[in-house]
Structure formats: C-alpha cells, structure tokens
C-alpha cells in the first residue's frame, strides 16, 4: 500500500460510524470487531485502487455489508437453532427508550442476515432502494421484498415497536 497514511486518515474519520454499523449488524462487540477488521483488511488490500476511484465510502459500505452477509451465512449461530418469541423484559413503561432499544436489538437478531442488512441500510444509513441493491449486489425487487418481510417480522417479534415499523409502501 503506497498511501498508508491516507488509509489511516480515511479510517480514523469513519471508524465510529463503521463500528456502529457493524454493531447493529453483528449484534455483539466481538463479532462487530471481527467484521470491522475483515472489512478494513479488504480496504487495505485494495486501497491504492479504491482511493483512486474517488468513492472509497461506497466501497467500504459495500465491503462491510457483503462481508457481513457472507460471513454470517457461514457462521449461523445457535440462536437460529431454536425459536422463541422475543422476550419482553418486564415492560414497565412502553416509552422507555432502553427497553425499546433492547427489544429492537433482540428482534434484529432474529432476522435473516439479508433482512438485517436491508433494515440497517434503509433506516440507519438512509439509503434508497437502488443504493441498497448496489451495496448488497442484489436486485431492487429483492430489496423491496426483503424490506417488506423484515418489517413484518419485526412487527411480529416486537409488537411494542409497531409504531416504528410500518411498511413504507416499498422502498425508495
């Protein structure tokens, strides 16, 4: 890598966002750190070319999400082996943000990898359907159907969050 300093500067400016996205996707700190590392390895390997392309942000996003999808497919954890509705931690106050965060985190963990990715891309990264399709390397139709199924599943898993997960009549 000729421009190691440039790579470090790029990463330093985005590490917090990258880490947050990885945590949303992976669901725990250890897996999120692994995801960030494997994404940065890819970036570093191709940094000379990527930096010349002028859109390293798009590349890092694509690398992160694709790494997440492919790596989680191979390491489907035992959480998927059993089924139980999301446990409601004794909801004392429906408006309690901490409880809502917990419910959403638990519900996200029950989605398929692709569903989780489209939810994070759509509602956290605020990307259009076309950009999500580009990031994930799938069709716009797949993005729409996965978004619809993901929202339906979130509603089923966490009815307390129904106000957050109305289906927005397809994605942009």
């Amino acid at each position: 890598m000729d421009d190691e300093a440039g790579f470090r500067e790029f990463v330093a400016a985005r590490l917090a966002k990258l880490s947050g996205t990885a945590y949303l996707l992976a669901g725990d700190h250890h897996a999120a750190q692994d995801l960030v590392q494997s994404t940065l390895v890819k970036m570093a390997r191709h940094w000379d070319r990527v930096s010349r392309l002028g859109s390293p942000d798009a590349y890092v996003r694509k690398a992160l999400y694709r790494e997440f999808v492919s790596s989680r497919r191979l390491s489907r954890s035992r959480e998927t082996l059993t089924a139980a509705p999301v446990d409601r931690p004794g909801v004392r106050d429906e408006a309690d943000d901490a409880i809502r965060r917990l419910l959403l985190r638990q519900a996200l963990a029950r989605l398929t990898v692709l569903q989780r990715a489209v939810i994070v891309l759509r509602f956290y990264e605020d990307l259009s359907g076309a950009d999500i399709a580009e990031a994930l390397g799938c069709s716009l139709g797949t993005v729409k159907s996965q978004t619809h199924h993901a929202l339906a599943r979130l509603r089923a898993l966490a009815p307390e969050l129904a106000d957050l997960v109305e289906d927005p009549q397809g994605v942009r």
Binding site: G20, H29, R45, V69, L74, A83, R101, Q115, Y124, L164
Partner: protein, 401 residues
C-alpha cells in the same frame, strides 16, 4: 414514524465502541498480498508432485468403513400435525428437538413420542435426561425422567456452554456474548449447586470447548495471525489452570492455509471447538479463503488430541458449499456469495460429531439431513433424512454454542 426507527438504531449503534483494528488490518492485508502469489505456486507444486490427494481424508464410498453408532437418531424426521404439550411428569429421555419455520418447537423422545415445547431449546444432555430451555435471559433445566425444574442465571443472560459426557456436570456461561465479559460456572446437576467458577476475562477471548467428567473445563482460542490455537484445561471446581497447550495444525494445512490467520477460529459463533465424550479429542472447524475478494467458507474439520498436543491433528474433509455467481465490486474485483447450502456441527457424541446439513429454502434455510462424522474412520454418513420445513435441530450431546 420511521424517524423513530432511525433514532433507535442510532442509539443502538452508539453503544458500539470504536473498534480500532487499523494496525491489525494493515498487517493482515500485507500478509495476504504475499500469500496470493505464493498460494498459486504452492498448489501447482502440490498437484505436480501428487500430494493433494494425501491431505484430507475424503469420505469413502458405501463399501467404506462403518460409522460410529448413533442408533438413537431416527432414520427420517418430518413434522407432524398437532402434538401434546410436554407434561410436567416424567417422560422418556430426549433424542432431539426441532423447530419449524412457524416457530413451533417439538421434542422427540426415545419412545418416539413428540411434545410441543415453550421456549428455545439450547441443549439436551448427552444421556437425554436433561433439557435446557431459555426464555429471554432465564435458563431452565428440566429433568425429563423426573419432575425437577431448575432455573439458573438469576436474570443474567445465561446459556449452556458444555455438558460432561456422563451428564452430571454442566458448564454455563453468563453475561455478554463477548467471552471477555463472560463468567463460566460449573454446576453439579446431582445437587444443583455451582461447583466452581471461572471469572470473566481470566483467559481472554477463550471459549468453553468442553467439559470433562472430572470435572475439568477445556477452553480454546485461536491465535491472531496464526493457524495455531490454544487450549487450557481448568479445574472446574477451583478455576485453577491445570494445563496450557498450543496446537499447531500446520502439518495438515496447505501452504496458503498456513499463511492465512483465519484458518482455525474456534471462537466464531458456530465454530467453537467440540470436545468428544472420550475427554481428549477436540474437533475444530477450518475456514477456507477461496476468493480473492474475501469469501471465507466452512471447510474441513480438525481433531486434536488433548493428551498428545504435539501430535499433528487429523483432518477430515467436509463437502464444500457451492459458491454462487460473482458480483462485481467497484474496484473491478468480484465477490462470490455462497449459495446458502452449508453444514455445521451440532454436538459431540460417542465416536464423532453430529452435523446438520442445511439447504436454502425461501428466505432462510431448512435442515435437509443429519450426518455423522466418524472420527475413527473419517466417514461422513447421512444418518437422518429430514423433510418438511424444519429449520433447526438440537440433538443430545456435549453441546457447545
């Protein structure tokens, strides 16, 4: 409304700490670049001298060695209509539990009866007597042959890490999913009491790979930038370290695998090592880095002997999942997603590992069969054909998760 979703996601994302792995990523990238050309050369050399065929043991044909007995598993498994709920009184020992796409979970017992279950089955003891079920962060142990129910965890996220082969001892992990913050407790099921604990973080990122009858915990962890992995044997009652060994599987790896630091990763969620009931054979999964742009896929299995850590591990070939079509990346490289078919280990049992074979089905996967990897013969044989929308199976054995 959706702004609420965005805000909530942002709050969760803010719980992440910046994972500053930049230095490690740069070092790994440098090493991979060196490996790419070296790997091509190495493979060509191996083919030329005819060594490739000698590396992994391929499953023999129908006339090959016999498979260790797992006669307690059914030959065929399919969902049935309605099933009665699991009664509170004694029933026969469990064989397996399965979950359908609908979320319904069913327990199958040795006498062929099926019972509907509440909660998520985490593990079934090797003798089929104990059933571990979680609801939220509470873990309940149910004595199927009696009426005892034991609730463990006191509201802290608790899960089964391993059973001893004799079913008496149970290793529980409590706390966050990160092993650094997990406490491990060894419970004596004869009394229901904790016999001892290992404080969180004492062995870094090591995971529980097994529990001997003695009871001794076996912890394992992959090493950074190396195919080696570390093993610790811990006295389960005092938490004291009895042994620390490093296993180097390099001799059974290809040249390119040897240089890649993710070949053996016992800590991956589905790749925790599994100790077999003999108390000395530890099986871990290897990972194969097959595409230049970063598709790592489950590969073969390695069996190391804890009592002879200096001996090279045995390697068992597992059929490779099929890679899907290549998707282009902005820099001109491509990514091949796997097609969704894969295998993963379920439990260590007498003579080997029971493996689930999953195939794509709709938006997820379904279990197509249960297989047995016989670690004596290297045979991988289908034991149970599975039909219907069964998406997950838990079999009895020395579960680790």
């Amino acid at each position: 409304m959706m702004n609420g979703m965005k805000d909530l996601l942002a709050e969760i994302a803010a719980e992440a700490m910046p994972y500053d792995v930049t230095d490690r990523a740069i070092r790994t990238a440098r090493r991979q670049r060196r490996t790419v050309w070296a790997a091509s050369l190495a493979v060509a050399t191996l083919v030329a001298v005819g060594l490739v065929a000698a590396l992994p043991l391929r499953p023999p044909g129908p006339d090959g060695p016999t498979v260790a007995s797992v006669a307690w598993l059914p030959r065929h498994l399919a969902p049935v209509g309605s099933t009665p709920r699991l009664p509170s009184g004694p029933v026969a020992s469990a064989v397996l539990a399965y979950t359908q796409n609908s979320g319904a979970t069913t327990l199958l017992t040795e006498d062929g009866q099926r019972y509907a279950l509440d909660g998520a089955v985490r593990a079934i003891s090797p003798d089929g007597r104990w059933l571990a079920v979680t609801r939220g962060e509470t873990l309940t142990l149910r004595d199927l042959n009696g009426t005892a129910n034991r609730t463990l965890g006191d509201g802290i996220k608790t899960d089964v890490a391993a059973w001893s082969a004799d079913g008496r001892w149970l290793a529980l992990r409590t706390g966050d999913a990160d092993p650094v913050s997990q406490r491990t407790a060894v419970v004596d099921l004869a009394t229901g009491r904790e016999a001892g604990t290992v404080p969180a973080g004492r062995y870094g990122r090591a995971y529980v790979c097994g529990l001997r009858d003695t009871p001794e915990l076996v912890l394992c962890a992959g090493e950074d930038a190396s195919p080696r992995f570390d093993l610790w044997v811990i006295d389960g009652t005092t938490g004291h370290q009895l042994r620390h060994e490093t296993v180097d599987p390099s001799a059974v790896l290809t040249d390119s695998e040897r240089k890649a630091d993710w070949v053996v990763r016992p800590g991956l969620p589905d790749n925790t090592g599994r100790l077999l009931p003999d108390g000395r054979t530890l099986v871990v999964r290897t990972f194969d880095y097959r595409a230049d742009e970063g598709v790592t896929i489950p590969d073969d299995m390695l069996a190391a002997d804890l009592d002879q850590p200096d001996e090279q591990p045995r390697r068992y070939a597992i059929p490779d999942p099929t890679l899907g079509k290549a998707h282009p990346n902005p820099d001109g490289s491509t990514t091949n997603y796997d097609t969704g078919e894969f295998r993963h280990g379920l439990a260590g049992v007498d003579g080997g590992i029971v493996i689930a074979h999953l195939v794509p089905s709709g938006r997820a996967e379904r279990v197509a069969g249960l297989e047995m990897l016989d670690t004596s013969s290297g045979t991988l044989a289908k034991i149970t054909t599975v039909s219907g929308d069964i998406r997950a199976v838990v079999v009895r054995g020395q579960a680790t998760g």
